[in-house]
């Protein structure tokens, strides 16, 4: 098991304290596999945040780091690679004959949401799923379908006549979808890096008179700190942010009133237990039934609570 995002780990070199980079963590992973020295019956790597997963395709002369890393691991004798919400699952084409699963923590998000918010009305008149960009549509479509909700999407309008810092500058975030007024919205993305783009999306939704805005993101990196989120929370732009404990969470983040951590350890334990028994993990990867049960229980609880209040 390796968390390549944990920069809180340090080592000393030249008398200076360095923080471990993803490269350091990845190198350590390989050392451990090498130390096992072919003695293990089977090696499964659980790498929640797939190393270099954002370097997955080539548009000009550049290194395909994710593919190289996957091939390297397989060549070292790794049989299975379990990762979560890989940025682009197609990188598994680099190792077509080995086990590679990218697990979606959708159920854990829904469980967290239903636990933290008790007054949601889960239907298409009151809630909606938002994808912050085109790339995240598949994820959002799944979530919307299992909950029976509609979907909205943002796309970036770029000025293709100009190039700034090697890219066409973004002119605006445009919205596609039905009316969000008065609805509770869930923005669903694979990661929050600086958080700039998802906060921008949240603000745009608020301008369209959304009621509450929730953010689901598998990996919360918060590279620019938490102050922007504190501000957005104070201004009522966001209501709650859900990320998982798959990667390092700062103590400050865990204390924030707008933050909810979705625990993944039980899920991982299920996967390990099942794999060790050489049984199928397909049902674990497909959480539709569990989600629907959770939603049904939630509605029952709500109905129960309503009865109690009306009885009073």
């Amino acid at each position: 098991m390796v968390d390549v995002c944990n920069y809180s780990q340090t080592y000393k070199l030249f008398g200076e304290v360095n923080h471990m980079s993803p490269d350091d963590h990845y190198q350590n992973l390989k050392r451990v596999i090498a130390a096992v020295g072919g003695k293990a019956r089977r090696i499964t790597v659980i790498m929640p945040f797939l190393y270099e997963s954002r370097q997955h395709k080539r548009s000009t002369r550049e290194s395909l780091d994710c593919a190289v890393a996957l091939q390297e691991l397989v060549r070292m004798g790794v049989d299975n690679i379990i990762t979560f919400d890989a940025h682009d699952p197609r990188v598994q084409n680099a190792i077509p004959l080995s086990g590679f699963e990218t697990v979606q923590p959708v159920y854990q998000f829904i469980k967290g949401l239903l636990k933290s918010e008790k007054d949601l009305t889960i239907d298409s008149d009151h809630m909606m799923i938002i994808s912050p960009d085109e790339g995240g549509m598949k994820r959002a479509v799944y979530l919307a379908n299992v909950l029976g909700l509609d979907i909205g999407m943002f796309y970036k309008r770029r000025d293709y006549t100009r190039v700034v810092d090697g890219r066409n500058p973004i002119v605006a975030h445009e919205f596609l979808g039905s009316d969000v007024e008065g609805k509770d919205l869930i923005i669903y993305d694979d990661m929050i890096s600086s958080g700039e783009s998802c906060l921008e999306v949240a603000r745009a939704l608020k301008e369209r008179k959304a009621r509450r805005v929730y953010i689901f993101a598998t990996f919360g990196l918060f590279t620019n700190g938490l102050s922007e989120f504190d501000k957005a929370y104070k201004d009522g732009v966001i209501t709650k942010v859900f990320t998982t404990n798959l990667i390092y969470q700062t103590p400050g983040l865990l204390e924030r009133p707008w933050y909810w951590s979705c625990g993944m350890s039980k899920y991982i334990a299920y996967i390990i237990d099942t794999l060790n028994h050489d049984s199928s993990i397909s049902d674990l990867l497909d959480p539709v039934d569990r989600i629907q049960n959770a939603v049904a229980r939630y509605r029952e609880e709500q109905a129960g609570a309503n009865q109690e209040t009306s009885a009073e």
Binding site: D3, S261, L275, D278
Partner: protein, 107 residues
């Protein structure tokens, strides 16, 4: 507060109260005896996972538990000790050529 990441103790408590019927039925022979190696920075998550596994496997009833195929199935922990020493020399060239032995040992 309620949304904070649970400590190992809290997670264990929650385990006791979690719903019945969530247990997986696994009646096949394990492929090998299980070992977990959580690397630096992943220790906490690894310990939580380990806690679930040890509990489940202790409670799981199987008539074959005493057979050879299930050797090492029930253990107090599945975590394998593993040490990855950090760079020790202050000279770059030295550190690049000094051996950094990585070792793993199952108890």
């Amino acid at each position: 507060m309620a949304g904070k990441d649970l400590s190992l103790k809290e997670e264990t408590e929650q385990m006791e109260t979690s719903r019945k019927g969530e247990k997986r039925v696994l009646d096949s022979i394990p492929v090998g005896s299980l070992g977990l190696i959580p690397l630096a920075g992943c220790r906490q998550l690894g310990e939580k996972v380990d806690r679930y596994l040890t509990k489940w496997r202790m409670e799981r009833e199987s008539e074959h538990k005493d057979s050879l195929a299930f050797a090492g199935y029930e253990r107090p922990t599945y975590i394998v000790d593993c040490e990855v020493p950090a760079w020790t020399s202050t000279s770059w060239w030295m550190s690049a050529t000094t051996a950094r032995p990585t070792s793993c040992s199952a108890k």
